[in-house]
Amino acid sequence: MLSLIETWTEIIANIIIAFFLLSGAFFLLSSSIGVIRFPDVYTRLHATTKGATLGISGLLIGAFLFLYLQHDIVSGKLLLAVVFTLLTSPVAGHMISRAAHRAGAKPVTRHRTDEYEQAIQKQKQHQK
């Protein structure tokens, strides 16, 4: 009876690991399709920062669960990599978007106002 419960626990754990890995790879692939399909630097950035962060989190959590449940190894580096990715990906996206705006990339918007440009102009007038 006990071995039956252990066997079922192992089967369910394997299915959960496979689910995490597959969902992570799906989100990475869909973020790359977003990088191809979106019309603008800012929308591409929107696709790649959010989607790739979610995909990386899924893949690394899947690898952590695989090593923990099947080989009894607690690898804290994978969880540390998840935390590090969650911390640094928004910062990198913010810096790239500001650099693109300074380099003169125009956003494709339905209403043709660039609010960040207006804010920069207002700050310049305020400094004078």
């Binding site: 039956l4 066997t7 192992e10 089967i11 394997n14 299915i15 690991i17 496979a18 890995l21 597959l22 992570g24 790879a25 799906f26 990475l28 692939l29 973020s31 790359s32 399709i33 990088v35 191809i36 630097v41 591409r44 950035l45 790649t48 790739a52 962060t53 995909g55 990386i56 893949l59 690394l60 899947g62 690898a63 695989f66 090593l67 099947q70 080989h71 190894i73 690898s75 580096k77 994978l78 540390l80 990599a81 590090f84 990715t85 640094t88 990906s89 910062v91 990198a92 996206g93 810096m95 790239i96 978007s97 500001r98 650099a99 693109a100 300074r102 380099a103 990339a105």
Partner: protein, 103 residues
Amino acid sequence: MNQLLSASYTIIEIATIICLAAISVSLILLVYRIITGPTSADRAVALDSVGMNMMGMAALTAVLIPTTKINDVILLIGILLFIGTVAIAKYLEKGVIIDRDLD
């Protein structure tokens, strides 16, 4: 029951191989965006995403050959990716990476 257990182990291997194929397709799409990006910021975005895909590929390799020695590589790719992205963004913004006049 034992057949079901061995089938669930096979499911993980097949899922890992499917994930590697999906990440390969995603890398091909990103290389297309790097080559034909209209501006430099597009190329920077695509390079950031290429680094993310490399982290995922290293994690899948660690699952495929069960080892823990690749986990250092994953963390290191993440750190170097962040530094490289910040350097590219500062270069695109100001033209220099390390600004010497401290205003």
